[in-house]
Each structure stands twice: as structure tokens, then as C-alpha cells.
Symmetry: C2
Subunit: 377 residues, 2 copies
């Protein structure tokens, strides 16, 4: 007899769809481990589908796979109505419906809300679910990088929340830091390259290539967002840095982080079109970066775009680092994190590997879900 | 109101004593996390001390620190009798007494047996405790590298067992592998340098030093066991490899592992004294290793003493590895593990850091204890 872990998935983008596929393909593995992942609801930005009776029914596997197909074809969840025994709710009704299910299941068998969206809109329902004794598993960085008030609510039951995939995709970063912290080993410094895109860009510059060339190749390789400025702004790295800084106990907001953008304000998306940026703006940035690469190289150093979190500071930007450090040796799109603590004093704990991609991000979410099984009844 | 996590600690050597000190010094940290680690018993190889009423009483902190002082002065636990309200049991009575406490607490509030010994003698009490719904946390490698029958009993409730510190001290190796496996990401290759001593020895050879020189420096630095052959035999690495192989599902025993010893049988401890080995035997090994180092160097490779675990094989010995891989770059006494899976296919997941020392080993045990808190009532 397996233990049921009931879930509502919010967000059916690449990560959410991959998660559903992982859940279905892991059925026999999880049965061997004595658990059954019971998906009772799925939502996108427009609709929520919930099993008609979330206490006794779940969304069947063939339907979950149908959700994946429909969403990857760009259809909305609401087009699936008529498929099986579930109810469809519009966006405006969905928060209340999720809260109803959370109130019902949270105190009885347990329920986890799994947030694979990329939106701040989930914050109200997540905080209400936490109050109702539910668990929360997130790949979405927005809720944890909102106000301290929202953050405090979300982590008010620390054992009920998991968010490995908010930093470094499936890399065991949060799990490892939590282990270190819970053993009373104080972390006094984290330095990491947490953007596959910027990791690739900075390491390619070493060979003498120009920033504009490297950004174009990164875009062609599919490493960047559609508008590469979303990566070059450093904002995504700053959100990850904020999550790590708050985990270490810093009570700061995103605006307290010093963020170095790789482009000036006059090239911001609100001022310059993406075509103009890629066609001409980017070229204007080449010389300065090239000079910085050369200068660093004279000292045996390389440039890396990193987050640095220390006792009471959190910064994101370019740093000159020794060529032979774990960060300096970084190539390709891997993420690297170096953690310094009492136990890892002279030589850091290093965690390195693929830090992006739907497959590994969804695997991190799934590992988090399995990890909260002891909270279900 | 904190949740109690009741513990009996077996083994008061360096790791066990460090654990008791960590537990005492983490009191306020753990109180903030809503948990209280309640030590109800402590044993060494000769005696067991248990709180007179393990249901209502615990061993107080000043007594735990007294245990640390006494044990580090080489005294036996039994010399502490008369200190407070606890009972003393001899070795022959202790298993039954632990089982009694386990039967009592296991099904009510919960109990964890924490094995920081280095002995196979704990296996019977550990397996009985598992049957009684207790948790088991181990730094001791022996129980998990015993027969498959013992292993199967120990892991029969997979959520009730933690053993991070059996491989790589406090490095998050087991926790990370469990996450990968539970997310359905099949691990098809692990290669690691899991001996700080052998990591140091192999990396020092690259500079042209002789094996005998390097082993003597390692001994002087305190990196080796009193008899360095305990490290050079590869047996300790083989035990760690077996634990990893079994975690990946291989049903093998220690004798199925191909182990390369760095000294021949005619220099084994049963044949040659430690003085003769260090004085003359070791010198005879220099030439062969030196030739292997030179040969590897011609191909841009270095020698590393590693464990390699693949689908159905498990080997421990010297391998030629690329200079610029995570393992090839290894210096000093750090451990490194490279994990290849579906998500970490071309570039491995790499975990690196201090893999030995009482402080970090005990921190790993403590993180395991905190991690099982949801199983306590």
C-alpha cells in the first residue's frame, strides 16, 4: 500500500510539462519506494483543472500526458474540458478553489502546491496554503524574492517548503546548504556562477573573442533568453543570490543587492529595440570588456560573472578570479558554487554541474516532492 | 514547544565526541528550528549509560561534555558512574537494554540509534532497532558493508536510515545521490577520489616526488592511519565504493570488488612490521609507481586512486585520468566525486571538498539527525 502525496501543479511551461512526464515515467520506481504521486489539479495562467472529488480522485496519467501535448502545442488548459472527470475554473476562481482543496487535504492527508510558473501571481495562494499546513515546492523564484513579509510567511514552516530548483536547477545547492546550516556550521561566504549563459559568455571571452561575437553564439546555441539582455542584466542571478542570502539569514530585498548590468541604461529594453541592441548597441560594449579581460589576464586571473554573499553583503557582477580556482576553470554552461564555512575553511565545498534545462530543473522539483513524503499521512 | 528527537549514541571516539559537542553547542540554533536533540544513552565498546527513565529524562549537557572529557583522556564510560541519574550496563547487557528502549520509544515518540563506532558489533542492535520502527544514523561503514542480508535489513525502511558520513565525511554525497535517484534520473557512472590520504599521495607524485617520500610526508602531516598500509591497501575506499554501488542497486559484497593495493602481499601487516615497511619495503615500490606516473604524463594524464562504479561493476585502484578533469586537478586531501546520469551526461555533477576530519564527519551525522525530524512525534 503506497503513501499518497497529493499535488496541485501550477504552471505548465517547459518545467511543469517535464515534471508531469517525469511523474508518469517514475510510477514503478516510486511504487517500489512506497509512494504514489497523486496529481489532483493542474493550472496555467488562465485556468485550473481539478479532479471532481480531490479526496478520492486524481487526474489520470493519460490525461496528464494530454495536458503536456496540448500545452506544448500552445493550447490553453481550458481546451481540454470534456476529457474526463474534472472541473475547470477560470483564473479569477482558481485561487479560491485551490484554497478550498488545500483546507480540505492540508489537514487530513496532506497536499503540496508545486509552483513551476514564473509569476508573482502565485504568492497569495502559496502563503494561504502554508497557513493551511500544506507543503510548497517551487521552481519559481518570484515568491521567494518578493517582500520580506511574503518570504517570512512562505518559510514559516521551514520543513514544509522546498525550492531546490530556484537556484542551479537540479544541482543539490539548497539541500546541501540546509544540511550545513542545520549542523551548526556557519556559512560565511558563498561565491557562485549561477547563470549558464553568463558562465558561457565569460569563459568564451578568455580566448580573445569579442563580447558581441560571444553573445551572438550564445543566442544561436539557445543559451540565452529571446532577448539576451534578460541574461546580461544580471537580474536572474540577483534573484538567485537573494534566495541564497535569505537562506543564510540576511533580511534584505532585491533592491539592496548591488547588481552590475553588462549593458548601460541607454540600451535597456525600454529604450532600445532588441534588433538595435544586437545589431549596433552590443558592439559598443566590446572594447571595455576586452580591456578588462586583458587586464585580469596580466595577473593570471579571468573574469567571471558571479554572486558573492558574505556575512552582511550580497553582490552580483563581474569579478577577477584566479584561473586555477573552481570558478576560474569553469567552461561551457555549467554552474559552480563555492561554499566557505567552518568545516570548509581553506578549501571550499564545491558543487558543479548543469544548472539549467527543463529536464534537470524538473528532476530537482521531483526530488523535492519525494523529500517531503514524511509530512504526508 | 520543541519536537524531541531522542538519540542513543554508540561510539565515543573522535567523531562521537565531536557530535556530542556539536549537539550541545547547537542548542539555541535547534530551538529556533523547533527541535530538541534529546540524548538518552551513550555507549563505548565496554559500557552503556542510559537515563534512568528514558521516556522522561535525558542525559544533561554538562554530563555529555563530561563524557567527552573522560573519553578524550582515555577513560572508560563506566568510570562516570555516580555522576547523575543514569544506569550503567556492561557490554553483554547493553544490546538488550538498547532494544528495550527502542521498543519503548520507537513506536511512541521515536528513537534514533546513532552509530559513530567503527565496529561490526553494532549490526545486531541496529537491525533490531530498524524492526522496532527506530531510525538509524551511521558514520560507521561496517554495517552497510556487511552481508547483503544485513544490508537489506538495515535499509528495509529507506526513510528511517541516513548514512551521509560513511562516504566523504560531511560532503553531501549520499543526500545528492538519493535526490538524483528518487527523481528517476538513472546514475550510470560514479568516479571518485574518496580517500584524503590517497588523494594527497597521488597528487604529490606528479611533481616528481617518490612514493616513499610522499607517504612519509603524509604520515608526518597526520593524513594517514598509524600504519599507512591501512590507507594504501585501498580497503577503506573499497568500503565506500561498496556503499555507493549498493545505493545504485548493485547486490554485491566486498569480495566482489576488484581492489588494487599499493603494496604487495609480502609487505602485508601480517608478514612485515610497520618499521620494516616504512624503512625498507616502501622504497621497493618507488620505481614502479614513478614509471607509471611518467607514462601517464606522456598522454597528458595523471594517476589518481579512485573508485569507479558503473552499471554492474565496481572497482577501486589507480587510473590514468585527464589532467584537466575535476579529478585530475585534485590537490591536497580534498575528496572529489563525479556523477554521470541522464541529467549530467556530458559534464558530470561534481561534489568536492574536505572528506575527512572529526568536525566535518560529525557535522554530517548531525545534519542527518536533523533531516529525520519529521519521523518523530
Amino acid at each position: 500500500m503506497s503513501k499518497n502525496i497529493s499535488l496541485i501543479l501550477m504552471g505548465c511551461g517547459g518545467v511543469g510539462r517535464q515534471l508531469l512526464q517525469h511523474i508518469v515515467s517514475c510510477r514503478s520506481l516510486h511504487a517500489k519506494q512506497g509512494i504514489h504521486l497523486r496529481v489532483v489539479g493542474v493550472s496555467d495562467s488562465k485556468s485550473l483543472l481539478v479532479a471532481s472529488d480531490a479526496f478520492t480522485m486524481e487526474l489520470p496519467d493519460d490525461f496528464l500526458l494530454e495536458v503536456c501535448r496540448a500545452k506544448s502545442n500552445g493550447a490553453s488548459l481550458s481546451t481540454l474540458s470534456g476529457y474526463g472527470e474534472f472541473q475547470v475554473f477560470t483564473n479569477s476562481e482558481s485561487t479560491q478553489k485551490i484554497v478550498d482543496v488545500a483546507a480540505f487535504l492540508g489537514k487530513s492527508t496532506g497536499l503540496a502546491l508545486v509552483d513551476c510558473s514564473a509569476s508573482s501571481d502565485t504568492i497569495p495562494v502559496l502563503t494561504q496554503a502554508v497557513d493551511l499546513d500544506c507543503c510548497v515546492v517551487m521552481a519559481n523564484k518570484k515568491p521567494l524574492t518578493s517582500t520580506m513579509e511574503d518570504y517570512d510567511k512562505l518559510v514559516s514552516h521551514p520543513r514544509h517548503i522546498r525550492h531546490e530548483s530556484t537556484v542551479g536547477a537540479g544541482l543539490p545547492v539548497i539541500a546541501s546548504l540546509n544540511r550545513i546550516l542545520s549542523s551548526g556550521d556557519p556559512v560565511h561566504r558563498i561565491i557562485g556562477s549561477l547563470s549558464g549563459t553568463l558562465g558561457y559568455v565569460m569563459s568564451e571571452l578568455e580566448g580573445g573573442k569579442l563580447l558581441s561575437q560571444v553573445v551572438h553564439s550564445a543566442k544561436n546555441l539557445g543559451y540565452t533568453e529571446p532577448d539576451p539582455r534578460d541574461d546580461l542584466s544580471g537580474m536572474d542571478v540577483a534573484r538567485k543570490a537573494l534566495i541564497l542570502a535569505r537562506l543564510l539569514g540576511q533580511r534584505i530585498n532585491l533592491d539592496a543587492i548591488k547588481i552590475e548590468s553588462l549593458y548601460p541604461e541607454e540600451m535597456a529594453p525600454s529604450v532600445m529595440s532588441i534588433e538595435d541592441f544586437l545589431g549596433s548597441g552590443l558592439l559598443l560594449l566590446d572594447k571595455n570588456i576586452q580591456e578588462r579581460v586583458s587586464k585580469a589576464s596580466l595577473d593570471g586571473k579571468v573574469l567571471r560573472y558571479v554572486c558573492v554573499i558574505e556575512d552582511s553583503s550580497c553582490e552580483v557582477g563581474i569579478q577577477e578570479l584566479p584561473k586555477d580556482s573552481a570558478l576560474g576553470r569553469l567552461r561551457g554552461s555549467d554552474n559552480v558554487l563555492e561554499v566557505y564555512s567552518r568545516c570548509y575553511k581553506d578549501q571550499p565545498l564545491v558543487i558543479q554541474g548543469a544548472g539549467a534545462g527543463n529536464d534537470t530543473t524538473a528532476a530537482g522539483v521531483l526530488a523535492d516532492i519525494v523529500d517531503i513524503q514524511d509530512l504526508f499521512r
